[in-house]
């Protein structure tokens, strides 16, 4: 069997994205052992939304069997996905949900992802304290789902007060600066809810201010941070958004191309087209294990996991 799968990534501003593409390419190669030839063609560059729509059109022109996309917008692809479906192409979004009824989503529940770490923070603070949040890009769907997630969790704890929420645009240095400003203004905060790479920045400010012992804050999953976490024994916990999501989506795609049917159709999420993957969590309990698994990798390497072919097969009839 031969399948051609197009991978589209519309932003190359973080190493996580390049790792995502690499893992997906490796996953495709792994099908060889099963006697399935999966050829991947990837489009990965900084583009705006129309530019990524053009990615999809290019895939349609090439006649791929499936498209796996990490979309720059949740809703903008509805018309073009409709065209892809017309052309008989399977479309799977990953990492960010899409509203199109012509696609399915295979990835994390971003809201659930935020809730996991918010729960960890709330529990660590024993349900009371002042908390600040450092978020990604305002208006970005993934960010807004995450915000909704932690707000819901903190709302359930009367003792937890969110004293301020700021945006640092998923930029580590901006996260560090934001944390610095927040520490100056709110010297008595107890917890910080911060996402992704910004967490490394925030923790750096916390450590610079000698408050690592007094503050609990969420963490992130790159090796650099795991090392710092281990060395300094930080009071941290991190939900994992593994770059392997695209690889998982690819495995699901191949099985679907083979004509197999999901045991449970993808109907989760706000758009009723999602299939959520499990969300791993890193805390002091499994930190050593995680550290061991990223040993020898470059500093920007993210702790990862993905559905193996077998895991994926288990989801199908």
């Amino acid at each position: 069997e031969d399948f051609k799968i197009g991978l589209s990534n519309g932003w190359v501003g973080s190493e996580w994205r390049t790792q995502m593409i690499e893992e997906a390419e490796q996953a495709a190669a792994a099908w060889k052992d099963k006697g399935v030839n999966v050829e991947v063609v990837a489009q990965s560059a900084n583009v705006d939304v129309p530019g990524q729509i053009a990615h999809v059109r290019n895939f349609i022109s090439q006649g791929v069997d499936a498209i796996i996309i990490n979309p720059n917008s949740p809703t903008a692809f509805d018309p073009v996905f409709a065209q892809a479906k017309e052309a008989g192409i399977l479309v799977i979004a990953t990492d960010a949900e899409v509203s199109s009824p012509d696609a399915i989503y295979v990835g994390l529940d971003q809201k659930g992802w935020a809730m996991e770490s918010a729960k960890w923070l709330a529990e660590t603070l024993e349900g009371k304290g002042k908390v600040v949040a450092i978020n990604g890009v305002a208006g970005h769907p993934a960010n807004e789902m995450r915000v909704a997630g932690y707000r819901e969790v903190f709302g359930e704890h009367d003792g937890i007060e969110i004293v301020n929420e700021v945006n640092a645009n998923w930029d580590q240095a901006q996260g560090q600066q934001a944390m610095q400003n927040l520490l100056a203004t709110y010297p008595d905060i107890d917890g910080v809810w911060v996402q992704d790479g910004m967490a490394a920045g925030a923790w750096r400010s916390i450590m610079d201010a000698d408050k690592a012992g007094d503050i609990a804050a969420t963490g992130e999953i790159r090796k650099d941070f795991i090392d710092i976490w281990t060395e300094n024994d930080l009071n941290s916990g991190a939900s994992v958004n593994p770059p392997g999501v695209m690889a998982s989506a690819l495995n699901v795609a191949v099985l679907m191309l083979q004509g197999r049917e999901l045991k449970e159709p993808a109907t989760a999420g706000q758009y009723n087209n999602a299939m959520y993957l499990p969300i791993p969590f890193i805390s002091s309990e499994n930190l050593e294990e995680v550290a061991a698994s990223v040993e020898g990798k470059p500093g920007y390497y993210s702790y990862t996991s993905s559905l193996s072919i077998e895991d994926a097969e288990a989801l199908f009839k």
């Binding site: 129309p50 290019n58 022109s61 090439q62 809703t75 970005h140």
Partner: protein, 329 residues
């Protein structure tokens, strides 16, 4: 010896006259080369369907480039075009939604959208021409403001557009896709604008504000006029974005601003003002789109794509500048 040099001078003269009349010729040439290359690497990319898709997707950038061209005429720049497009996008989406999504409500929302673009242009024109702030910095500041406003109107990307709207944009009438009607309408509009007094006056202001003022031109009004025109075309671009994406996104235009500047230059207009064509900018928008797809069709490994694309755009920019200067120097 003398005769040789005069004949080459005459050839040069001919080339210059040609370029003077049609400054977009170099861009057109690059466009054709890119189309051919795309066709060689992926024959399907020249199919009617693919070309329609290309125009449909890059119509927005074409319009943004046109918008940018009008301010560049007057030696100005607008770093807020993308933000204006985002603001108009969310405004019309929210209005269409609130007004029920019927045909009339769509038209009304589009009307409001044009007004929003116009108002943003007025704001830019006011801060740059009336308050005399430096355009690059001032329009960057207004772009932050417009983005903030867009976030208030639609805090998170996602509200869908009424079906009638995007089905029209993506649809086909009498066998011809809607975007081609739109392209013809645009061409006609641009032709008309090229004959307006405002167009000539913008170019005269771009050649030298002091001289234009001393000639008795209402320079401030003209400059504001340029920004208003820019705002209106940014609004039209937003309609295309909305038609192609069928949804609202408060950040959708942000990345398009710098591409619009690149398109203007690539199309043969001078950033220093006084010289240029909108046709070139339109072609250049397509060039940017074709470069992106060519890089892919040519089989560039994924992590090299951005680099190759950057190099290709830089090279195209250089060619655009060099050739159009030869035409003028």
């Amino acid at each position: 010896m003398t005769s040789v040099s005069t004949s080459t001078r005459q050839e040069n003269q001919g080339f210059r006259t040609l370029l003077g009349r049609f400054p977009f010729l170099p861009a057109l040439f690059i466009l054709v080369v890119l189309l051919v290359l795309n066709g060689i690497f992926e024959p399907n990319s020249l199919s009617f369907r693919s070309l329609t898709g290309l125009v449909r997707t890059y119509m927005a950038l074409m319009l943004l480039a046109v918008a940018q061209t009008y301010v560049v005429y007057a030696a100005e720049i607008d770093l807020s075009v993308g933000a204006i497009a985002s603001l108009v996008n969310v405004t019309i989406i929210v209005l269409m939604q609130n007004w029920g999504g019927g045909g009339l409500s769509v038209l009304a929302a589009l009307g409001v959208g044009v007004l929003v673009g116009l108002a943003c242009g007025l704001v830019n024109g006011f801060v740059v021409a009336a308050l005399r702030l430096q355009a690059i910095v001032a329009t960057f500041a207004t772009s932050i403001f417009f983005t903030g406003l867009a976030l208030v109107i639609l805090p998170v990307a996602g509200m869908p557009a009424p079906t009638v709207f995007w089905r029209t944009y993506g649809g086909t009438f009498f066998g011809i896709p809607f975007v081609f009607y739109a392209a013809v309408a645009l061409a006609f509009l641009l032709y008309l604008f090229a004959r307006t007094r405002l167009a000539t006056q913008l170019l005269a202001v771009g050649d030298g504000q002091q001289a234009a003022f001393q000639s008795g031109l209402p320079v401030t009004t003209i400059r504001i006029g340029g920004y208003v025109l820019c705002g209106v075309f940014a609004a039209l671009a937003a309609f295309c974005i909305t038609g192609d994406t069928a949804s609202g996104d408060p950040l959708v235009g942000a990345k398009m601003t710098l591409f619009s500047v690149a398109a203007v230059v690539l199309g043969g207009s001078a950033l220093s003002g006084g010289f240029g064509t909108v046709a070139g900018s339109v072609i250049a928008a397509l060039i940017i789109g074709l470069i992106n797809s060519l890089v892919f069709f040519a089989g560039t490994p994924s992590h090299w794509q951005n680099f190759v694309q950057g190099l290709a755009i830089l090279a195209a920019l250089m060619v655009g500048v060099l050739v159009s200067r030869r035409g003028r120097a």
